[in-house]
Symmetry: C2
Subunit: 475 residues, 2 copies
């Protein structure tokens, strides 16, 4: 007796699921982008307890339609312009499906050599494709690894930075309240979270002021280091961001990097969304100075058509990273590890277990080729520029930040109430979804252009919708 789904049942249901997803791909633009359900509605549709006997698969899929779909915010819609993209694509879904089907757990090399070695090679490919420094290559002293998110990558970088600065004594003795970390006031919140988690304390986090373009002021960074050193504190890490979440601001990597190198401070670069643009040589001026980085991260799961989770994290000195995170219990000892000839990625991040995420990245790069990725990135940037042109030409709207790539920050000049009205109206209609930020105290709309299914038409319609809801606004 067995309750398992047989391979033949899987064959049948799997093909139906493929059809379902293909149909969804073709119709995702027809759904209200932002889910319109009230809090608690989805839960109220699910039984209070698990079934004693199994249910037919058809019933489950009916419940997907009835209960799940109304509660979906359609990130893959051509009309999704919120946050940053979280792209999927056909080859990525199939790579991830293969990973699920193989079901290997790549915590160490021996538990599936391909899981480790395809990953190592893919991360080396990315160094080359994205114009990143050779120091990140696994063939030298560096290397890359797939993390779940840029948040985890930042925490990992911080632990390595902390242990490099303290000669591994923090791992042993604990943090001591005198370690200082630098970000800008516009750095992602994950850095503040990491500083807390790592026991450093956010009182020791220095959020350096930004210039008129929301980029870190290196002079202020340098001045703060001097203040901290004279107070007996130890600077351990600075983060430079390539494309902040609020406004896609670009920190000046070269100047920050020079200061960090001179001061012996770990330099982490967070290029979570914008890093994908580096597949195009014409955008690489934005990462000028990246050769100073001790670590670097960008998320193929944002703009590079690779579904979540896939955050590419590189370090220049893998030994520092590994020595900061390695704990080797007896039950993981094995000849390959002890030979020193292999990578055990469990020592490159917090989790022990890991799935074969490199497959989807491999499938994506093989499917698109470098030229295909370049094509779509260039299209997105061009559409963003064309959207920004309309903003500039409209008498009632203005740009709120420079447009280095594909995030347009703009606002109606009538003030916060009008901009909130625009947000509420277009999102409430279900016709499109965009989100906001605050810049210099003002509510600013963020038009993030870079989805797999984004089209020029959808971008144009979005602009028309935004303008339309301001027409009779009583705000």
């Amino acid at each position: 007796m067995s309750y398992h789904m047989t391979p033949d049942e899987f064959r049948t249901q799997g093909k139906r699921m493929i059809d379902w997803i293909a149909d969804y791909m073709g119709s995702v633009g027809d759904y209200p982008v932002l889910s319109q359900v009230d809090p608690g509605w989805v839960q109220s549709q699910l039984p209070a307890s698990a079934p004693l006997q199994g249910d037919p698969f058809d019933d489950v899929m009916e419940d997907v339609e009835r209960i799940v779909m109304p509660g979906i915010t359609h990130w893959q819609s051509p009309n999704f312009f919120a946050y940053f993209p979280a792209n999927v694509s056909g080859p990525s879904i199939l790579g991830d499906l293969l990973s699920s089907g193989l079901g290997v757990q790549g915590m160490i090399w021996a538990t599936s050599p391909a899981c480790t070695e395809v990953e190592t090679r893919m991360l080396d490919w990315l160094v080359d494709m994205m114009g990143l420094p050779d120091s990140f290559l696994s063939t030298g002293r560096g290397g890359g690894v797939i993390q779940d998110t840029a948040s985890s990558a930042a925490l990992t970088a911080l632990i390595a930075a902390r242990e490099r600065a303290t000669g591994l004594t923090t791992n042993r003795e604990g943090a001591t309240g005198n370690l200082v970390v630098y970000t800008s006031t516009h750095t992602h919140s994950s850095l503040e979270k990491a500083v807390r988690v790592a026991g450093i304390g956010d009182a020791q986090l220095r959020a350096i002021e930004v210039d008129e373009n929301y980029a870190m002021l290196p002079d202020a960074f340098e001045a703060q280091i001097a203040i901290d050193r004279s107070a007996g504190l130890i600077p351990i890490m600075v983060t430079g961001t390539i494309g902040t979440t609020s406004s896609n601001a670009m920190d000046p990597l070269r100047t920050i990097g020079e200061i960090a190198a001179r001061e012996g401070i770990w330099f982490h670069v967070d290029a979570a969304m914008s890093g994908t643009a580096m597949v195009c040589p014409e955008f690489r001026h934005l990462i000028d100075g990246v050769e100073y980085a001790d670590s670097y991260c960008f998320n193929p799961h944002k703009w590079m058509f690779t579904n979540f989770d896939c955050s590419a994290f590189f370090v220049r000195d893998r030994e520092t990273l590994i020595s900061s995170l390695s704990v080797l219990p007896e039950y993981l000892r094995n000849k390959a590890t002890e030979s020193g000839a292999v990578i055990d990625y469990r020592d490159w991040h917090i989790p022990l277990g890991r799935r074969f995420r490199a497959l989807k990245l491999w499938f994506v790069i093989r499917h698109y080729g470098i030229e295909g990725l370049q094509h779509h990135v260039r299209e997105h940037v061009a559409w963003a520029r064309s959207f920004a042109d309309r903003v500039v030409m409209h008498p009632d709207f203005e740009l709120s930040a420079p447009l280095p790539l594909n995030l347009v920050c703009f606002r109606h000049t009538a003030g916060d109430a009008m901009n909130q009205h625009i947000l509420d109206s277009v999102n409430g209609s279900g016709e499109m979804y965009l989100t906001h930020t605050k810049l210099d105290g003002n509510t600013v709309l963020r038009m993030s252009i870079g989805g797999t299914n984004t089209t020029e038409l959808a971008v144009n319609q979005a602009w028309d919708r935004i303008v339309a809801v301001t027409d009779h606004a009583a705000v």
Copy 2:
């Protein structure tokens, strides 16, 4: 012009991938279990750089066969008895495929209400199904969340414990070197990693001695607390393990919990593998006293047929957890969050982004039903007992630890060299895969029985193979 895979191409290639996986499911037992490739072989088969133009999908699948498959260690093989299981199943693969296809990012409720609410309901189902305390229910002050791994869950528990003990001042001021964490000498290495990451320092980690069954000695724990308190240190957390990785030892939760409650110490329970057995009421005596736990974790991605990653983590007081991990930047502010009526799971773990992992859990529970899960767990435990009986009856073998569930720890009485010979021989043959540990200084073989494709026949054959390789051993 578009390089994207069209829905129709996805339909065609997706069905071929389903066929490929169904074929793999039917033939997984035919592969050498442990990959036989040498370090570097897989990498050497991959080009040094990414293709400029995209490749046909057929070429990619050919490379999967030629390059990836020889480098796979087949975790889903009926002859895989190593580590702990990392099970997949048909419904789980399909749930995960749906998650990839929908491509939603559930960092906050608003970004897909169903992603949050199905998860909340599934975790509530698990509380009920597994006989866990009502204090973990989201309908009260507790709640559950899916983490990637038990390692991350342990770190999350530790941060909450740290902040509860220090009134959120560690987040602000940093760790102070006087916080103490308790495990046993057999607790999983992830706790040591977490203590380092959290800035507590492993000099402040007390690995309490174990009894003859490798379970924590509560008296020793209590004595150590007194020593630490008298030294001016602050005990913040103790971990009890239900099924240690080495030998599946069961820490006495009730006694540890009573001490922890009396002393005001956060009590984390790690039931990563063995937690699945709690679906059967007859095994719940093993978690007697779990109502003292402040947090609890078990991994459906180990024994419960749900593919990686899916670690179920529960807390009794979600407010403590959330206040320890929440950072709210402007660009994530929204009405639903501010209403307080919804859960934003980003505040329940380290990563910000999250995929819709509850789908695969829902699909598994719906497919198997409670009775189906019970059936397979009971079978695995019965087969483990029968394997242990053979060990006991054989004059040259002995059990090395009690057998509470499905992990048989045993050894040949001729000593370490013989046991190493057994390991090397059976693993090298590709016919099966098992791993080892050390108990009381001796090399011990671990026969872990609990795979989706495990059969009674495969377990019997494994025993025969083990005995056979000892016959002419010159050790």
